[in-house]
Symmetry: C2
Subunit: 328 residues, 2 copies
């Protein structure tokens, strides 16, 4: 019988196992136009934390007691629609479950690129598009710029590091702990800050003595403040995430915010879904980088549907290098 994870309670601060409950899904026959997909890979992403709160946002909150949703890749095992046949690999948003059923239009056949299917949840999926368009469009980063990216060992950040290097930029990444820092450096970063080793503001000033032109923010808090302190004139900040505050109601404290003014800094929040109509361009450019051997991906894999909450919670305790995935 198919099973799915539901949100049992809205987390107070950091999520705990008691906030999640697994339920059986009714096994129903397909209607005309529907397909059944056996999920092979589930994505867990930091933005999901926001959906666990009962507040209006750009994605609606999860409903208590109902199956949660999220990115997934699976294989069509039954089809009553001409657009998809058994054996097709598809990506879709009915994650947090082992089997997904719905209208064929809710499932997108994977592009024909010679990469593992789970890439479409990472570097070639939402996290990759986030890094790509955030860096190149939102922050208007260009060759010669000095780019600072936080959570550089994560799915989004590691894409930013590699795209920036491929496009001729100088890159400073931050990551937590020596092992992750070493991995970020192996991706080509010119300097890496281990944020667990000391204040980010000092480390960034040392790593970028002439300042930064671009900041790609996945973290907020002390990283954002350090970026403000090191911002060069006309610096552009792409504000992608603030993992620092997702689990924490305390305000962000910024000592260097007023530097926005004198340095004409631009901070721009963005959502990757605004760029979905440019997916073809993304696949073309990232595909070329992949083919040229300029992109490496790392995955942190949890096995089995039962491990999904652990994988999710690991996002907030530094548990992943690269993309965090659940393999079914």
């Amino acid at each position: 019988m198919p099973r799915a994870w539901t949100l049992a309670a809205r987390p107070q601060g950091m999520p705990t196992p008691a906030d999640f409950a697994i339920v059986d899904l009714p096994a129903a026959p397909l209607a005309d136009g529907e397909v059944r997909v056996a999920n092979r890979w589930l994505s867990v992403d930091p933005y999901m934390r926001g959906r666990m709160n009962d507040v209006k946002s750009y994605v609606p909150p999860f409903v208590l007691g109902e199956p949660m949703t999220g990115g997934a890749v699976g294989e069509v095992v039954e089809s009553r629609d001409g657009a998809l046949v058994v054996g097709d690999m598809v990506q879709h948003m009915l994650g947090w479950r082992d089997e997904a059923t719905g209208p064929a239009a809710a499932f997108t056949k994977l592009p024909a690129l010679d990469v593992p299917p789970q890439s479409f949840l990472g570097q070639l999926g939402m996290p990759g598009m986030t890094g790509y368009f955030g860096l190149l469009e939102v922050a208007q980063a260009k060759a010669g710029d000095t780019v600072f990216v936080s959570a550089a060992a994560g799915a989004v950040g590691s894409t930013v590091v590699q795209v920036a290097k491929a496009k001729g930029m100088t890159v400073i990444g931050s990551a937590g702990g020596a092992e992750k820092a070493a991995w970020v450096r192996s991706l080509g970063a010119d300097a890496v800050i281990d944020y667990k080793a000391g204040p980010v503001v000092k480390a960034l000033a040392a790593a970028a003595p002439k300042g930064i032109d671009v900041y790609f923010d996945n973290v907020g808090g002390d990283h954002l403040d350090a970026a403000l302190a090191s911002a060069r004139p006309n610096a552009r900040f792409a504000i992608c995430g603030m993992i620092d505050v997702y689990n924490d109601a305390k305000p962000t404290e910024l000592k260097y915010l007023a530097r926005l003014i004198g340095n004409r800094v631009r901070m721009q929040g963005f959502i990757v879904s605004d760029y979905m109509d440019r997916a073809a361009e993304f696949y073309r450019d990232m595909g070329a980088l992949l083919a040229a051997g300029k992109l490496r991906a790392e995955e942190t894999i949890h096995d089995g549907l039962d491990a999904t909450p652990d994988a999710f919670m690991g996002l907030f305790s530094g548990g992943n290098t690269g993309k965090m995935l659940v393999r079914l």
Copy 2:
């Protein structure tokens, strides 16, 4: 004998009278190409507080013990240059003193507009240009937008209120106290928040139930946080000043900063001097508004050079409605 104010000590937090000292200036004959100007009006502006700290910024710090500088309007009383003749009214940056001497190129003859000369330190000067270009260029405000402006009773804010109304926008201003609030409303603001009467975040949510498209920030802190809480999708914030932190080393606390992301908010710091090459356009458009009776100016005037530090310190204690000036 001419006199000038010097910075005697770098203020710790809020400036005090002991931070200033008045000195006699040597009376020297003019060299070829120089003019002597009797100052009639001196400007005091919040940005000057930044120059009193010994930190690198977009304007260099004041040097301890040397005459301070700032906007001024005066009359040429002696000239050894063909470009200016005795009786010409000029604007220049040798303020904080009663007499200014220097090369003629350092003094600009006032444009021929039928307004009082001190207007060129206010609505037709740096504060007016700041409001005008900050609203229309930096924030890209347009007819139909809902605009929130802090310090709306100040020299910059009162310009923003009136230009926004003249261009067909809905305007919410904030000011401290019932009297200033009433004045801002008399300028045409659709709603006014008295920030001394309660939390700004609640008052703004009530005044703009559908949210704001533009925020013109003169204050930072709780006003900026309220604007973040009320930001509509694709809102633009022009970050002009943060008077909240000029005298205070404590960090800015923002509870709603992460709303930048979901609402794709753009925060853009700016400096009015970047728009100096568009002064002609500014005079033309503002001149037309003035002629149409769509702009009102208020002034808070202190008399005599000795009162200059008091006028300056008053900027930080809510001492001014409209432009703060010293009349000599």
